[in-house]
């Protein structure tokens, strides 16, 4: 009784915790990750393991350096989540050193330099992705061809060799090629339907394999919505803006078309971005109206980059731009306080 701590009210709590939320997110990643593994093989798994280990190590050393509690903080799982999301975004052929650079940038520059969990204005995983893309464009644009397009996915041994940056028997070029979005950018004078015929890369609605990957993340996202871990505002606004713009510029699928809404929704990182990345509460806008604006802004920029920019996909850049705008959006969309005029 003597050493009872006297604290301000309230004295009870709902019982949720940050670690719990992050673990739910990790769980929700599983369907999408499984689809990635199915389509691209072991590289994905290797990346997840490597990134997670590095993230924990880096975060622990910085916390140690800053004399902050290490274990208690690692237990919030946010570093692992960052690592997993980054690993799910990068090509499965990334050599170990590029992964190291990327995760170091994400955890150290993107997160810990700002003070760690909760303080970072930019999405660490996307900061890491963007930095990697700029720094090592060759490795970052080297996507595997999905199962079904290529006769064989690299075996586990081959995947490990690729990861360790060793020479392969057949050469890595045998497995790699442009992603569907990249290929689509170069459809030149073809009609969309002609383009679809011309390459085995395209599947039902979108890139072969990528459809399933996006469906996986969509499924995980719906689980998060159901669990009320995330609110609908950002994903819905993001998807709506992207689909709307795509529809506007679809142009009947002729030579100047920028692709159908369906293609855009199930291509590249759309669903991962919509449910797992734009929703990062730390770096997103927080007011309800703000969230809608934020989601729509990112969706719009993603389309602009895909359609008119120099990059085949723009989730990372769009998210970073949205992050930058978030504080401003928040400042401009403060809700009306009870008892105050509008």
């Amino acid at each position: 009784m003597n050493d009872v701590m006297l604290t301000s009210s309230p004295h009870s709590h709902q019982g949720t915790s940050v670690g719990q939320i992050m673990r739910q997110l990790l769980l929700a990643c599983v369907p999408g990750a499984a689809a990635l593994w199915f389509c691209f093989g072991w590289g994905v798994v290797i990346n997840i393991a490597w990134f997670s280990a590095l993230a924990l190590l880096l975060e622990a050393s910085i916390l140690k350096l800053r004399k902050r509690p290490v274990l208690a903080t690692l237990r919030d799982c946010s570093a692992v989540l960052t690592a997993v999301l980054l690993a799910l975004s990068v090509p499965p052929t990334l050599p170990w050193w590029a992964g190291l650079t990327g995760i170091a940038f994400a955890i150290v520059v993107g997160k810990q330099l700002y003070g760690g969990l909760g303080f970072n204005p930019f999405n660490p995983a996307m900061a890491g992705y963007a930095a990697l893309l700029i720094a090592f464009p060759v490795q970052m644009t080297r996507w595997l061809l999905p199962d079904g397009v290529t006769p064989a996915l690299p075996s586990l041994a081959d995947s490990l060799s690729i990861f360790l940056d060793r020479e392969l028997l057949q050469g890595i070029d045998a497995y790699t090629g442009a992603t569907p979005l990249d290929k689509f950018r170069q459809h030149g004078e073809q009609l969309v339907s002609e383009f679809w015929q011309s390459t085995p890369l395209m599947g039902q609605w979108s890139g072969r394999g990528w459809e399933w990957i996006n469906a996986g993340f969509l499924f995980g996202g719906l689980y998060l919505l159901y669990k009320r871990i995330i609110s609908w505002h950002i994903p819905v606004a993001f998807i709506a803006a992207l689909a709307l713009l795509a529809a506007l510029f679809y142009d009947g699928g002729n030579a100047h078309s920028h692709g159908s809404p369906l293609m855009h929704l199930f291509a590249g990182g759309t669903m991962l971005g919509a449910f797992f990345i734009t929703t990062d509460p730390v770096t997103a806008a927080t007011t309800l109206r703000g969230k809608v604006i934020y989601g729509a802004l990112i969706g719009g920029v993603v389309f602009l980059i895909r359609a008119f920019g120099n990059y085949p996909d723009g989730i990372a850049f769009a998210v970073l731009l949205g992050n930058a705008a978030a504080p401003l959006i928040d400042a401009l969309t403060r809700p009306r306080t009870f008892g105050h005029p509008q």
Binding site: L6, S9, H11, S12, T337
Partner: protein, 526 residues
């Protein structure tokens, strides 16, 4: 029974586990008189009370122990007869855990006569009489804040349309109001009618959560006046907070910075209304109140009608207190209550509940983590603040920003901290920041006042200086005249010395004449 009235939905809110059944298993218990009572003399704003008794003095039950200085002061009565053992600073159930002035009475259980005032007929008495009676009976709000009821009523005299009786009791664990309503609804109804009479209001709404069907039934049975209406609304914390309750019942938002009485509404807690009824109809001062004793560390949770000043430990004992399983001792509900350092503290007029909680019920707070801006807090804030932003501003000590974001509208309900996955003690941040802002305001007021005073002072000094200057000039002219004469006469060194001496003499005389002015010292050199 008419069709259920329209209800309005206030924003946000939470639904924590109620924990109310435990203490509602039996009727309100009366306790034996504890051997010693510690009666707090606390006054609004912590100003010093006027103590009217002395150590060693014998007091009767209901005798006035102390009163306040001004119109907002609260009268404190002896809850029981006995001898004053001491008057001094004692720990009481407050947030600071700093001692306050109390009177300790060694009770005399044999002596039970009670100095009551004569009953009043509220239908004929005028408002001033009624308010004076309420003041004489030492009633202050029993709903939480403990604001002197007579002061609130005096401000309410202007124009009140609606009287609202707050029977929401939305906080977990507390059942004092519910118990009161189950057993003594008639007095509450009588008190409401007194308030209607006193204020001239046309309607009285008794707001109560739908989680208290027995109390609702008792109330409805007791209501015998068409002006009174019992309004039942869904349970959601903090439906009992004044502004939220008023909105639920009337749809009126109290403009920020105003109190309900400014908007034609008077809101009182049922306990207060009951006390008003007792004071007016029976002349009884507020000597006891109903206290819920509950929590896993007591085996026999119940409501007690306890004399003010009863040590909490005394009540706990009666309920089978097991100190070993205690984790936290909280006075009030789990969401707004005060954590108590120990149980040797007295029941005060605002003490509605004591929770002796086990570790699983109210675990010690988890370490604070960084805010992840999840926005859960904003979803539940009943005032539609953005709590996390207020937190960021408070944390970085940008208090002006916090003010601009309406920190002062926060009712400290704790809903935000209850949901926060990062376990941030948000309310403590707000309290600290609010205090800081209040301090700034006081400083600002002082500064304005002192600037005026200083300028007045400067002005006065300048005037005095000018007057002194003038006198000096006159003297100088005089001296010059003299000197001129002396020159004409052909001065000698002796003359000059003599003249100087004369000047000194003159100066001393002048100084004696011009009393307080200090400027004359300079005159010597001229």
């Amino acid at each position: 029974m008419s069709a259920s009235p329209r209800l309005w939905n206030f924003p946000g809110g939470i639904a924590p586990l109620a924990h109310k059944a435990e203490s509602l298993r039996g009727p309100i218990r009366r306790t034996t008189l504890p051997p010693q009572l510690i009666v707090p003399l606390t006054q609004p704003g912590h100003v010093a009370p006027n103590v009217l008794v002395q150590t060693g003095e014998r007091v009767r039950k209901g005798q006035i122990l102390a009163c306040g200085d001004d119109a907002t002061g609260v009268t404190v009565h002896a809850p029981a007869a006995g001898v004053i053992n001491a008057i001094g600073e004692q720990s009481v159930a407050n947030m600071s855990a700093l001692p306050e002035l109390c009177v300790i009475i060694d009770t005399d259980a044999a002596e039970t006569t009670w100095d009551k005032l004569p009953p009043l007929d509220y239908r004929t008495a005028d408002a001033d009489t009624l308010i004076a009676r309420i003041a004489d009976c030492g009633i202050s709000g029993l709903g939480g804040a403990g604001f002197p009821t007579h002061a609130k009523l005096r401000a309410a005299l202007r124009k009140i349309d609606i009287v609202i009786v707050n029977a929401a009791e939305c906080e977990p664990w507390i059942t004092a109001d519910e118990a009161l309503l189950r057993e003594r609804a008639a007095d509450v109804v009588a008190g409401s009618k007194i308030l209607l009479q006193l204020t001239g209001a046309l309607r009285c709404l008794i707001g109560i959560e739908d989680s208290k069907p027995q109390a609702v039934a008792a109330l409805q049975a007791a209501v015998d006046d068409p002006r009174l209406k019992v309004v039942v609304f869904p349970a959601r914390y903090p439906s009992g907070a004044e502004a939220q309750l008023i909105y639920t019942l009337t749809g009126k938002e109290m403009p920020s910075g105003t109190r309900p009485v400014h908007n034609g509404i008077l809101c009182h807690n049922v306990g207060t209304v009951y006390a008003i009824a007792r004071a007016v109809l029976h002349g009884e001062a507020l000597l006891s109140r109903i206290v819920t004793i509950t929590g896993g560390a007591v085996s026999d949770a119940a409501n007690y009608e306890a004399s003010i000043g009863t040590p909490i430990s005394f009540l706990l004992q009666q309920s089978g207190f097991d100190e070993r399983s205690l984790s936290q001792l909280v006075c009030g509900g789990s969401l707004m209550g005060i954590a108590l350092p120990h149980a040797q503290l007295p029941v005060a007029k605002t003490t509605n509940c004591v929770i002796a909680a086990t570790r699983s019920e109210l675990p010690p707070p988890q370490p604070e983590q960084a805010c992840i801006r999840c926005g859960d807090c904003a979803d539940v804030c009943p005032v539609q603040l953005v709590p996390q932003q207020l937190y960021w501003f408070a944390r970085s000590q940008q208090f002006d920003q916090a003010r601009a974001n309406h920190l002062n509208d926060c009712i400290e309900c704790g809903a935000c901290a209850w949901v926060c996955p990062s376990h941030i003690p948000l309310v403590q941040y707000y309290r600290a920041a609010k205090a800081e802002l209040a301090e700034q305001d006081t400083k600002q007021q002082h500064a304005v006042h002192w600037r005026q005073r200083f300028e007045a002072h400067q002005h006065r000094m300048a005037l005095e200086q000018a007057q002194a200057e003038q006198r000096r000039a006159e003297r100088a002219a005089l001296a010059a005249q003299k000197q001129e004469q002396a020159v004409k006469a052909g001065p000698s060194p002796q003359d000059i010395v003599a003249a100087a001496l004369a000047r000194v003499q003159a100066k001393k005389a002048a100084q004696a004449a011009a009393k307080p002015s200090s400027d004359d010292d300079n005159g010597a050199s001229s």
